[in-house]
């Protein structure tokens, strides 16, 4: 029952908020925060719970079967944490509908991660696009961004649906995620199904060359939402690769793995180089995301046990620091009234606490040893090297150097240098704003020092 609760609680409260007769910032924020906090607790506590409702048995078996697997457990924890941060940090016009959207996003994505059924997975895959889409429509600078986000991802979602339907027709059931009985299927259709799955996953992550929706989306989405989108939604594809593609069709996936490795490496470098020249702080982080997630894809494609363990750590770490970064960037934008690196500067003296948080996030993002990002990065690269992709490991190292350059450029450009003179000094991080960041910061440190916590509790494929 707990998995269902994690999904339904945010959805129901989200809908109720939509139906609220008038804008009430306090009620919305408190309700949102309470729900998010409750789901954090449920997510951590409800790991072994499962819940099933039979949907249909014809033409194949599909069930609403929810329950965390190893990786999805952490993704849901990450999701709830990010949502909590996002809800608490929300400070936009029309707060109520923003928070409702956030909760809706949380519910749909929790469904995505918790479901054990491919068809339901595909359903939630499409559903989770909607809140982002509507937020982009309502708050974004231009509707075309929303449409681009939607169309690109939706194209992926449709192909996913198709692949899932084909899978169901082939296997007779879609209730297969995390079910060892269905691992290692063989079929002549498998390459096609895999291709369909991969397309969806690659677009969502995103991976070069399917990424062009991403920068504008991240740039245009208000900070709280983009924190969740970048922090967690982008993991949906990677989760799919690990929990679905790799688990169900290992030998076919292995055959195509070099392709994914190449795409991963290209994304890794491509994103890094573009991030180096962006002048909008959100775009820097957006492209860095492309780069980082390329690394995870590379890890998955290496098929190496160690690398995939690293990928799990890095997925969580990336979720934490990118959510953190986007929330912080939101705070920065709010205070400095600009996102341009050329106009920002000198925040360090004015808002030291904010700068501190920014600093931790940026350093974690550039893979500073001791923070969560590093652990994943290192282990991934060891695994990738071990699996024989020496060239990929070496190119990844180039990207790491580049990452340090662009993240420092971001951090220093925003917080250091001469102060911007013509703005009033805004107050430093308030305690509510800090509350939004604290859980994420804590997790970043905790998993940085002790990443084994993420893996100690079991492996994905028993």
């Amino acid at each position: 029952m707990i998995p269902l609760l994690i999904i339904l609680l945010p959805l129901v409260v989200g809908v109720l908020l939509y139906l609220l007769p008038r804008e009430d910032v306090a009620v919305s924020k408190i309700a949102g925060a309470v729900v998010a906090a409750a789901t954090v607790g449920l997510a951590i506590g409800g790991r072994t719970e499962e819940w099933t409702w039979h949907w249909f048995a014809h033409p194949f078996v599909a069930n609403f079967h929810f329950g965390a697997t190893f990786l999805s457990h952490w993704l849901v924890v990450l999701l709830t944490l990010c949502t909590f941060g996002a809800v608490v940090s929300t400070k936009v016009a029309r707060t109520r509908s923003m928070i409702a959207s956030l909760l809706f996003l949380e519910g749909t994505m929790a469904g995505l991660f918790l479901t054990r059924d491919l068809l339901v997975f595909a359903l939630f895959w499409d559903a989770m696009l909607l809140p982002v889409f509507f937020v982009l429509l309502s708050w974004g600078p231009h509707p075309s961004i929303a449409w681009r986000y939607f169309l690109y991802n939706f194209a992926g979602g449709l192909v996913l649906l198709l692949a899932v339907a084909a899978f169901g027709a082939l296997v007779g059931t879609t209730d297969v995620i995390g079910n060892p009985a269905y691992h290692g299927l063989t079929s002549g259709w498998a390459p096609w199904i895999l291709a369909g799955l991969a397309f969806a996953f690659l677009v969502k992550t995103p991976v070069w060359p399917f990424h062009t929706w991403m920068p504008a989306t991240y740039e245009g989405t208000p900070s709280p939402m983009v924190a969740v989108v970048s922090g967690v939604q982008s993991k949906a594809g990677l989760y799919g690769f690990i929990a679905i593609s790799l688990a169900l069709f290992p030998q076919y996936f292995a055959r195509e793995a070099p392709v994914f490795a190449v795409l991963g490496v290209v994304s890794l470098l491509y994103g890094a180089f573009i991030a180096l020249v962006q002048s909008d702080i959100k775009l820097v982080v957006a492209y860095s995301s492309l780069s980082h997630l390329g690394l995870v894809l590379l890890a998955i494609a290496s098929l190496n046990h160690l690398a995939i363990e690293g990928a799990v750590v890095y997925i969580v770490a990336h979720g934490l620091f990118s959510a953190l970064l986007f929330i912080v960037l939101g705070y920065v934008e709010e205070r400095e009234e600009t996102r341009s690196l050329g106009k920002l500067g000198g925040l360090g003296w004015k808002n030291p606490r904010l700068t501190g948080a920014f600093c931790v996030a940026a350093l974690a993002a550039l893979g500073l040893p001791g923070l969560a990002g590093f652990a994943g990065e290192l282990v991934i690269l060891i695994g990738v090297y071990e699996s024989g992709y020496v060239w990929a490991a070496i190119l990844a190292l180039v990207a790491i150097v580049t990452a340090s350059a662009y993240f420092l450029r971001l951090l220093q450009g925003a917080t250091q240098g001469p102060e911007v003179a013509d703005l009033p000094v805004r107050p430093d991080l308030t305690w509510i704003e800090g509350l939004a960041l604290a859980p994420l910061l804590f997790a970043l440190f905790y998993f940085g020092v002790y990443p084994h916590a993420l893996l100690a509790s079991g492996w994905l494929h028993p």
């Binding site: 920068p215 180096l276 040893p369 290192l378 070496i394 002790y450």
Partner: protein, 636 residues
């Protein structure tokens, strides 16, 4: 206890960071105490190994304190403690006082982690974190654009080094399946030569970046943007010698790869001499010291590279003292002169700052290799070791560099302390062409708020003792080995040294002669009465006639900037402004447009004419009939 020693500075850092504004001045004392206690803890622990926790599956963390790490830890915490104390005075009144000590303590923690880890990952984490601390401290005055740029440069170049190390670690872990260093060393013999060379190469990239070896050295001179105590602690005494530590630590690897040793030695020698030459062309007191640091680390690297590990680390040991000493003493000068760092605007300071004078004098004597002073012994060991291990070229470089070192150090000394005080002359008249002075607005310069003088004086005074005396630990002969070599004998079981064509005493003599020549030249140029009288004009002409290749540091910065920085940015611009919008999105847009035009074309087909509709239906019906008749016929 090792863990305690490690965590004490971390706790200090956390406290200073969290409660900085409330602690005010007490932050400095707290931080100093943390480092001091850590020093004591290290000494108490002495040696040992402590297992910690499983970091990742198969990755077990632990600390180990052996003789090599003990040496480093003692220097780090000991010298660190003194420099902390000094900083209380130096940083007095700065608005980021507590933050400064938080960073400093954090650095001590990171450096201890680096030397105490018993595994590659811990080493790498420490390696990265010292880089971070260095970054924070270089960019400490972060409203100064030059400091920000210097910090970034230092960090990025250090990441290049980290990445090299990571590469080596992949190779080690992937091939040996362990992250414990001792295990790796035990099975190093099983690695192929090429692999071993690759591992050593990767490690050395890390070492070179951290220790500012050619060609990854350009960050170090810029790093002098940080406060002077930082330069003393991080960019002279401890962090930059991490490369030496790494090579010495991995001696079992290097011992099996002669070509790797050759590489390391060559780079060390190259750095030693090239940095020394640059040092002779600098005017900024801290930059002179920075180049001298590079040069001296070049010595150390050369020493450990050729296999003279004891000599190399000995030079680290003595260098830590005398270079800290030099920096701290020059810090007193800089502090007193209101952040003036250009030696051309100094002069005649002997009387005005006696402590600085004596501090710098002992430091100069030690670094120049004047017999009896600490630097003499250690440098001698390296130079002799190079020959003993069969590297005559490095031997020669070592001797020549010793002369140049003596020249530029005495040049510094003479210009600073002899003659008249030039602080009030027009900067242009001494050949200073820069538009504005480098003085930072935040550097505490107001005498009214100065801390007690002894806080800064005491560390300098204390450091004079090891600066002069530490070298005697190395005094010994083949018959009765020095305490130093006896202490480290179990650590390094390198191959036997070759037969030496030149006896040790002759080497010492030659070196000393060259050093004397260097001192003589410096004296002729700057210390004669004529030179002192005509100082302003001479400095001016020297400034203006300085070879461009030297003032531009052999154009290394420009080259790196052009090839890597500009190259990467160009690539980014091409990807972001051309490939993304036009190639990838263009394809998507095209398909959308073609869908629309397809729809329009189909609309044209639906003409609205009834007869046309009927005709289409008739054609369809005709097709049907053809099919049915053709398929139906064979069934008869």
């Amino acid at each position: 206890m090792i863990l305690v020693a490690l965590l004490l500075p971390l706790a200090g850092a956390a406290l200073c960071w969290a409660f900085g504004p409330r602690l005010r001045g007490a932050a400095g004392w707290l931080a100093t105490a943390a480092v001091g206690l850590s020093f004591i803890a290290i000494l108490v622990a002495g040696s040992g190994r402590e297992a910690l926790f499983t970091w990742m599956p198969g990755f077990d963390f632990g600390l180990s304190l052996d003789r090599l790490s003990l040496l480093w830890s003692v220097v780090i915490t000991g010298v660190g403690c003194l420099i902390h104390l000094y900083s209380i005075g130096y940083m007095h009144g700065d608005r980021g006082f507590a933050r400064f000590f938080a960073y400093m303590n954090f650095f001590i923690f990171a450096m201890l982690l680096l030397v105490l880890s018993d595994n590659w990952v811990g080493l790498l984490i420490g390696w990265g974190l010292v880089g971070l601390a260095s970054y924070f401290l270089i960019g400490y005055w972060f409203d100064r654009p030059s400091a920000v740029a210097a910090a970034r440069k230092a960090f990025v170049m250090n990441v290049v080094g980290d990445v090299g190390m990571m590469f080596a670690i992949f190779l080690l872990v992937a091939n040996l399946h362990t992250i414990r260093m001792s295990d790796a060393f035990a099975s190093a013999a099983s690695l192929s030569p090429a692999l071993l060379y690759a591992i050593c190469f990767g490690l050395f990239v890390g070492a070179a970046a951290k220790s500012a070896q050619v060609p990854l050295h350009t960050w170090l001179p810029d790093a002098m943007e940080g406060p002077t105590p930082v330069s003393a602690l991080i960019h002279a005494a401890t962090m930059v010698t991490a490369g030496v530590y790494l090579v010495a630590r991995c001696a079992p690897l290097w011992d099996q790869s002669a070509s790797a040793q050759m590489l390391v030695g060559t780079i060390g020698a190259l750095t030693a001499i090239s940095a020394a030459i640059l040092g002779a062309a600098q005017w900024d007191i801290k930059r002179i010291l920075a180049y001298s640091t590079m040069s001296q680390i070049g010595y150390m690297i050369m020493g450990v590279g050729v296999g003279a590990y004891a000599g190399g680390i000995a030079h680290f040991f003595t260098h830590a003292f005398f270079k800290a000493q030099l920096f701290l003493a020059s810090g007193i000068i800089i502090h007193a002169l209101g952040n003036e760092q250009d030696v051309r605007l100094m002069g005649g300071l002997r009387k005005r700052m006696p402590l600085a004078f004596w501090g710098i004098l002992t430091g100069v004597l030690a670094i120049s290799g004047i017999p009896g002073f600490s630097g003499f012994f250690s440098k001698d060991q390296i130079v002799a070791g190079a020959l003993a291990h069969g590297h005559p070229y490095m031997y020669a470089v070592g001797i020549v560099t010793a002369g140049i070192t003596a020249y530029y150090m005495f040049r510094l000394f003479f210009i600073t302390f002899l003659g008249e005080y030039r602080g009030n002359v027009d900067p242009a008249s001494v050949g200073i062409t820069r538009e504005t002075t480098n003085a930072a607005p935040h550097e505490p310069g107001d005498d009214a708020h100065h801390a007690p003088a002894w806080i800064m004086g005491l560390p300098v005074a204390l450091l004079i003792i090891p600066t002069v005396l530490a070298g005697w630990l190395l005094f010994g002969s083949d018959a009765s080995p020095s305490p130093w070599s006896r202490f480290f004998a179990p650590q390094f079981a390198g191959p036997a040294t070759a037969a030496v064509p030149i006896p040790d005493w002759l080497t010492t003599a030659i070196t000393f002669a060259v050093v004397l020549i260097g001192i003589g030249v410096a004296a002729l140029r700057y210390a004669t009465s004529a030179a002192r009288a005509d100082a302003v004009a001479r400095l001016r002409s020297e400034s203006l006639n300085m070879p461009k290749v030297l003032t531009h540091q052999y154009y290394m910065d420009a080259l790196i900037n052009f090839v890597f920085v500009r190259g990467a940015r160009l690539l980014g611009a091409v990807f972001g402004r051309i490939v993304d919008p036009f190639v990838i999105d263009g394809a998507v847009r095209e398909s959308a447009t073609s869908a629309q035009s397809l729809g329009t074309a189909v609309r044209a087909l639906q003409s609205g004419l009834l007869r046309a509709y009927a005709f289409v239906i008739a054609i369809g019906a005709g097709c049907f009939l053809v099919y049915y008749l053709v398929t139906g016929l064979p069934h008869r």
